[in-house]
Amino acid sequence: MSTISMNDIRGGTKVIIDNDPCVVVDNEFVKPGKGQAFNRVRYRNLKNGRVIERTYKSGESLPVADVVDVEVQYLYNDGSHWHFMAQDTFEQYAVSEVEVSEAKKWLKEQAICMITLWNGQPIEVMPPTFVVLKVAQTDPGLRGDTSSGGSKAATLETGAVVRVPLFIKEGELLKIDTRNGEYVSKAKE
């Protein structure tokens, strides 16, 4: 199994910690005045979704998780699992709520996403960077209401809640950046 040294580990690097696949959230180099150097690694365990911070000596390294990314189409949700189909092999994957994690609030049927497989098992779902979703509910924006900084909450058809400008109305299509959950613009179908 190949390993990766602390210095090369970045946000997004997938490693094995305590026998589980994990994705590194961030890795901070810490050097106390005259003392030994450390790396403070924050990572999400991809099997249980827990985020943990652990302190490593800077010389240490971690085993790399042997993962592959597969392009898939989102099919449907049966109440407990989210179902996807690989674009090239038509193989289907059922993904549980822990693994689908934050991605679920952006998933609309037919959407093309990436899933990460570890030993053939799906462990993570990455939604498209930009999605176009319809506004399911939002209050009418009040002119001159600046108390909320010129924005209001809108619930999208997938259940995600985002901040949008006051002029947005129910039924409109919005382009959203899924990396930060921010409104980008109005969209046409």
């Binding site: 005045g33 302190t55 240490e60």
Partner: protein, 313 residues
């Protein structure tokens, strides 16, 4: 691959302004600007600071991790108070607020102790960052405040329990100084210096480096560090003048390096000879200019304030 700078031109203008302000500050106080070699035959023996070795005429020279030894040779030669703005190099230190080569301001004040130098550091920070006067705590006071423990008196057992409770470690660590460092960087550093700079002074004697040790009960090192917005900005000493004691500290460092299988470093004999000749009573401090510029420019990464960070060097 990218050819472009990692810093914005605006931040580079801010950097130039900070450098100009530093030079004005010392010109007003009649402190002499000096330059010393970056390549030297001797270098720092610290267990946790590694110098970058360079081959020259079949011999090994080292890129300096700080201009301290050469500046003290100038002081011993009668320079009076001096300052320097220079590049310094540290092997394998890179991260959000570390770059293996970085810019350091180091200055020495003849006749000052670490308290008087803290006053001057405070004036410099107020001048450049337009900040409120700094707060000061001893190392002991800050541990009592955030961890309810006396770092000098706490037993090894209690200290280790406290580390284990608060920090998840990937591997066992067995030395007391590192336990204290871990608690400091994880439980104290993130919480201090949010509004104004904080000076921490009077460190445990085991963390003396090149500082005088005062034989109080317990003995403490006349050393200070400066923290602001979660970063260590500076490290200063009331400088050790005793050449014999300095030589012994270097030897002890080398023993530790040998035990840990690290490279054995040639002790800087010219520096020790200068101490033996006589270093005036003085205090000195090194301040990271890149971090200072980060604060002035409200940046969150060192790459944003150096023209080309290590990744683009």
């Amino acid at each position: 691959m990218t050819w472009e700078p990692s810093a914005s031109i605006k931040n580079l203008q801010q950097r130039a302004l900070v450098l100009q302000q530093i030079r004005e500050f010392f010109a007003k106080r009649q402190v002499l600007e000096v330059e010393t070699p970056l390549l030297s035959q001797g270098t720092v023996t610290d267990l946790y600071i590694d110098s970058i070795a360079v081959a020259m005429y079949g011999k090994t020279y080292y890129l300096q991790t700080s201009p301290e030894y050469a500046m003290k040779r100038l002081l011993a030669a009668g320079s009076g108070s001096i300052y320097q703005i220079t590049k310094a190099f540290r092997q394998d230190q890179s991260g959000r607020i570390h770059n293996p080569e970085f810019t350091m301001l180091e200055w020495y004040r003849v006749g000052f102790d670490h308290q008087a130098l803290m006053d001057e550091m405070d004036e410099l920070l107020q001048w450049i960052l337009a900040t409120a006067p700094a707060q000061r705590f001893t190392y002991r006071e800050i541990f009592l405040r955030y961890l309810a423990m006396d770092p000098h008196a706490v037993s090894d057992e209690e200290l280790w329990q406290c580390v284990k409770q608060r920090i998840e470690l990937a591997s066992e660590i067995t030395d007391r100084d590192t336990w204290l460092d871990l608690l400091f960087v994880n439980c104290i550093e993130p919480n201090i210096g949010r509004e104004q700079p904080v000076f921490i002074y009077d460190f445990p004697a085991t963390k003396a480096a090149l500082a005088k040790i005062r034989l109080d009960n317990p003995p403490v090192a006349s050393r200070f560090e400066v923290y602001f917005h979660g970063m260590e900005l500076a490290n200063g000493f009331h400088e050790l003048q005793d050449g014999n004691e300095q030589g012994e500290r270097f030897e002890r460092d080398l023993q530790l390096r040998e035990q840990q299988g690290k490279t054995i470093i040639p002790i800087d004999q010219r520096f020790l000879a200068a101490l033996t000749h006589g270093l005036p009573d003085c205090a000195g401090v090194a301040l990271g200019i890149d971090r200072l510029v980060m604060l002035a420019a409200q940046s969150t990464a060192i790459s944003e304030v150096v023209s080309f960070d290590f990744a683009r060097a």
